[in-house]
């Protein structure tokens, strides 16, 4: 019976309306009353649960993810409205707000180096490093939720994927499909030459030049003239993650 309820004010109202539109019998009225009671009880139970486990929700990311999924199934999104009772109850309004500010901060600070494109794992690494000891731990899921909250901002924050690479884009830019293809081509080696592109896709010189110029102009790619005849183009966002993993491994 509980599952059939499918809480959402909308469904409830629908049920009410349907029930009312039929010349309802007393029995229907009683059923509606029962539904209302059950919904109120569920809401109370959920509130009690969240209140009791507030600290765990903030400090345990795995638990937090589970609670949020449960809320979503029930039809309550704690982040959808800052004024919503759930976000106040969960006390997570502050958490995501703070995370959002930190993410924006990191993206803005690195924009001139990576053209507004950063590996998701690297962003996580930087966030963890930056957050004070004792503050709530952060996982990838938190970043994804925060980024979706940041969508309305002019920055154009979103998650983009190139093959297996997950990146956070923080500049309002539409990458055309040629560039996206080249990014995917370079996802493991971090770099490419114009010759690599020609061999992989068979494009003519003008098309390749135009694509590479766009990527240079947007700042996501750096040029390496070590071999002047075949300059290499490196994707900074891909390299950073690779390098930091190596650096951390060497440090240990």
């Amino acid at each position: 019976m509980r599952r059939a309820v499918g809480i959402g004010g909308l469904r409830r109202k629908e049920a009410e309306r349907l029930a009312m539109s039929k010349k309802g019998t007393e029995l229907s009225q009683r059923e509606i009353e029962k539904l209302r009671e059950q919904i109120a009880m569920m809401k109370d139970n959920l509130e009690d649960f969240v209140r009791e486990h507030q600290r765990d929700i903030r400090n345990n990311p795995a638990f937090r993810v589970k609670v949020q999924r449960m809320c979503q199934l029930i039809g309550v999104d704690p982040l959808s409205s800052r004024k919503s009772y759930m976000s106040e109850l969960l006390g997570v309004g502050d958490f995501y707000c703070e995370l959002g500010i930190q993410i924006i901060d990191i993206c803005v600070a690195t924009r001139s180096i990576n053209g507004g494109l950063m590996d998701l794992d690297e962003l996580l690494r930087r966030l963890i490093r930056r957050r004070l000891k004792g503050s709530e731990p952060v996982v990838e899921d938190d970043i994804r939720r925060t980024i979706s909250q940041l969508k309305p901002l002019k920055g154009g924050y979103k998650i983009v994927c190139f093959g297996k690479r997950k990146m956070v884009q923080s500049v309002a830019r539409e990458m055309n499909s040629d560039q996206a293809k080249v990014m995917t081509l370079a996802q493991y080696t971090c770099k490419f030459t114009m010759e690599d592109v020609r061999v992989a896709f068979g494009w003519d010189e003008d098309r390749i030049h135009s694509c590479v110029d766009d990527m240079l102009r947007s700042g996501i790619v750096w040029m390496d003239e070590y071999n002047e005849a075949y300059p290499e183009y490196w994707v900074m966002a891909f390299f950073s993650q690779l390098n930091s993993t190596l650096t951390m491994a060497n440090a240990e």
Partner: protein, 189 residues
């Protein structure tokens, strides 16, 4: 920030992550990327020179060595790019060209500005009650009395710059000797 040893900082220099990025050694065609790149290079030069207590740089020689060559990734900065970077440092008061005028082939790297050296020396003299005494520049740099001071063993050209600052501030008088080492200085309140 205060480092009371007058010798190179122990421990290897920590290069920034970007130092292993091959394109870091190519002047970038994208203007805003280049702005960021030059800023990082300037910071790196000053940090590296400070860490190793190095004071001067001859461009043609320097590019074959760290930090301008990274052997692990087989990359070197070009001399004309280094020249641009030194010009940046000159503009911010952290370097000055030496050698033939307009040749731009050698320079001092002022990872600590002469004014700051000057005030350190002045403060030391004040604390030791050495105003109105003539000291040789040599003993200022190398004497036992200054052992443990930041400016102990300071490169002579840089030291001379610092003393020039004090002189222009009216806090010192320099006396020319038969050589730079003989040069004397009197500091006063």
């Amino acid at each position: 920030m205060s480092n009371t040893t007058a010798v190179p900082t122990p421990g290897a220099f920590q290069f920034p992550e970007i130092y292993n990025f091959p394109p870091f050694f190519t002047r970038q065609p994208n203007e805003s990327t280049w702005q960021e790149q030059r800023r990082q290079w300037c910071d790196l030069i000053l940090a590296y020179y400070r860490h190793n207590r190095l004071y001067s740089l001859t461009l043609a020689e320097a590019i074959t060595e760290p930090p301008f060559t990274n052997r692990q990734i087989h990359r070197s900065l070009r001399v004309d790019v280094l020249r641009e970077l030194v010009d940046d440092l000159v503009k911010q008061g952290n370097a000055s060209w030496t050698g033939a005028k307009n040749a731009k082939d050698s320079c001092l790297v002022l990872w600590r500005k002469p004014e700051v050296w000057a005030s350190m020396i002045y403060q030391w003299a004040n604390e030791r009650g050495l105003f109105n005494t003539v000291l040789t520049v040599f003993e200022l740099a190398n004497g036992d009395d200054t052992a443990g001071q930041e400016f102990h063993n300071l490169d002579s050209v840089t030291l001379r710059r610092a003393l020039d600052v004090l002189q222009s501030q009216g806090k010192a008088q320099l006396f020319v000797g038969t050589s730079d080492d003989d040069m004397g200085v009197k500091l006063f309140a």
